[in-house]
């Protein structure tokens, strides 16, 4: 009986602690979203106005701005294209690394692991030189698509490879005996079975391409700019239009919310992968 009450007390303390921590963790996000839904007078009021009638004026102003619309389109094009390319090429490369024996396989696996560690910041100067020096100026969007595809390839190859290695080999074996080519074994048998792996790879690639800032800053101009760069420049240019700034920031954060609540399992798998499973 005593043990029972102590257990309940423990659980109570646990919940209290977690709830407090959750408030702290969510507050900055709450603050961003509510500011984007306030009129400027309310946003800057001290003491703060906690209860207000939400307004969409900031979002309207943002969406009716031709520039914003262009940046939004750029972001969508860049993120979607590089996700498709990086996951597709990643799966293609992951297959032989999971299943076959060939010369140079070990080197390639080590290479993939090594490239996975390289942060975007390191690439800012090299990639800027690649696309801007030597007179060959490549369209910013295309440059970003190429770079985002490449940066995400090592993770995608690696994570998809672990999913392929978990598949039982019998299906592929019987297809080979039936005379299927390597490529059709891959597309017809392996690909349909690794859906979860492809979605982990896809979510993480999209997240990176949609959120990325520093490479977009150095590779794009005022026509090819993506949303993160646009909002950052807006911040330094105006500095006071917090309603619009938080509205754009919230729009940038929408995919993060969607993935977090729609695919928490894939996210946690992708985040903990490398570390816990190997």
């Amino acid at each position: 009986m005593r043990v029972q009450t102590r257990k309940h007390a423990n659980l109570g303390v646990k919940y209290l602690f977690i709830s407090l921590a959750t408030v702290v963790i969510l507050f900055p996000i709450y603050e961003m979203i509510t500011t984007s839904l306030k009129l400027p007078v309310d946003a800057f009021a001290i003491p703060p106005i906690w209860f207000f009638v939400p307004t969409l004026v900031n979002y309207k102003a943002v969406f009716f701005d031709a520039n914003f619309f262009r940046f939004f389109t750029n972001s969508v094009i860049v993120a979607v294209t590089s996700t498709v390319a990086s996951v597709g090429l990643g799966a293609l490369g992951a297959y032989p690394l999971a299943r076959w024996k060939f010369g140079g396989k070990k080197t390639m696996i080590v290479g993939v692991l090594l490239l996975r560690m390289i942060p975007e910041a390191i690439l800012a100067v090299p990639v800027f030189v690649l696309f801007n020096a030597y007179g060959a100026s490549v369209n910013g969007r295309l440059a970003l698509i190429l770079v985002y595809t490449a940066i995400n390839l090592p993770f995608n190859i690696w994570v998809i490879r672990t999913f392929i290695m978990d598949l039982p080999f019998e299906l592929e074996e019987s297809a080979i005996i039936d005379g299927c080519s390597d490529f059709s074994v891959f597309t017809k048998i392996v690909l349909p079975l690794i859906g979860p792996g492809l979605s982990v790879a896809g979510i993480f690639t999209f997240r990176m391409a949609w959120n990325e800032f520093i490479l977009s800053l150095v590779l794009t101009d005022r026509f090819t700019r993506t949303l993160p760069v646009a909002v950052s420049l807006f911040l330094t240019d105006t500095g006071t239009e917090w309603g619009k700034i938080t509205a754009i920031a919230t729009i940038i954060a929408v995919p993060a919310f969607v993935f977090t609540f729609g695919a928490a399992k894939s996210l946690i798998m992708g985040l903990t992968a490398g570390a816990v499973k190997g």
Binding site: F102, L115, M117, V125, G135, A249, A264, A275, V276
Partner: protein, 295 residues
């Protein structure tokens, strides 16, 4: 031979790998090697049409004599060590408190993923607003507690701490998730046995759980160490490295050398040094993965 690998060599492997290999070569490897080469050259962003001028090791000599560079090294060390140790501590405490299944656990775990997913630019903006001297909520809450307003981002002695707080907010949940996953690997029968033997919570924590998650902790520390060099974007958008150079980390220093001072050769030298630091930490992870690969 493992059962699930096809006997014989496959030349097709090279066709499957070619597209990925080519794009990695052209967009990552070649530019990185080119940048290593450029670190021995003097080359200005303003006159990129001109050929880079070879100057040997002078870029590196200049760096180690530059007060700004050395300051950014100091800032990076303070920043990285602080965020990694605070995040490890907080993440582990949270994981120990929240381990096990209890109602609502899933929801909390999901909510804690949110900061990790939010774009660094957005994190920078959010915290800049929270830290705002007049209408920021943090100073407002402090005033309710009777504490005088703090110049979070304007006070050179405070700015680095503020930046560290924002990074801890975003990334301690990552440590939490990893440690939680590690704790799930602690065998239940061993915990049971220790309870039967009369071990109290602290004893079983120190003698069973911590040794079990030690490798996960080490790994998480390295991952966070490498990732902490990525914090450039949050810092760029919160303080721009200021006030003065008080929050200018190495990666931000590199960016400014290239695009503000417009010295591409010198910036390449910084990025080579940064790369070497990252590879040093990455070696631990790679050696570990190769060992697992062998099994």
């Amino acid at each position: 031979m493992r059962k699930n690998s096809i006997p014989g060599r496959r030349t097709n492997a090279y066709f499957f790998l070619a597209p990925a290999a080519i794009i990695l070569l052209v967009v990552m490897l070649v530019p990185i090697f080119n940048s290593m080469r450029l670190s021995f050259f003097e080359w200005s962003l303003r006159s990129m049409a001109q050929k880079p001028k070879f100057i040997g090791l002078r870029n590196y000599v200049e760096l180690f004599e530059s007060e700004n560079f050395l300051s950014s090294v100091r800032v990076t060390i303070i920043f990285s060590l602080s965020v990694v140790s605070i995040e490890l501590l907080l993440g582990t405490v949270f994981a120990l408190l929240l381990e096990g299944d209890f109602p609502g656990m899933r929801i909390f775990r999901t909510l804690y993923v949110l900061p990790i997913m939010v774009a660094p630019v957005v994190v920078g903006i959010m915290w800049r607003f929270m830290y705002h001297p007049t209408y920021g909520k943090i100073n407002f809450f402090l005033s309710k507690l009777g504490i005088a307003p703090v110049g979070w981002l304007s006070d050179p002695n405070m700015a680095l701490t503020s930046v560290i707080i924002a990074d801890v907010w975003q990334w301690f949940p990552f440590v939490f998730l990893l440690v939680l996953a590690g704790l799930q690997g602690v065998p239940k029968d061993i915990m049971e046995a220790s309870r039967v033997d009369g071990a109290n919570y602290m004893q079983s924590l120190i003698h069973i759980k911590l040794p079990y998650i030690a490798s996960v902790l080490a790994l998480t520390a390295i991952l966070r160490m490498i990732d902490s060099f990525r914090s450039l974007v949050v810092i760029y958008n919160m303080t721009g490295g200021g006030p003065g150079v008080s929050t200018e980390v190495l990666s931000l220093h590199m960016y400014k050398t290239a695009f503000t001072s417009q010295r591409l050769g010198l910036a390449s030298a910084v990025s080579v040094l940064l790369l070497m630091i990252i590879l040093f930490f990455a070696m631990f992870l790679i050696v570990r993965s190769i060992r697992k690969e062998g099994k």
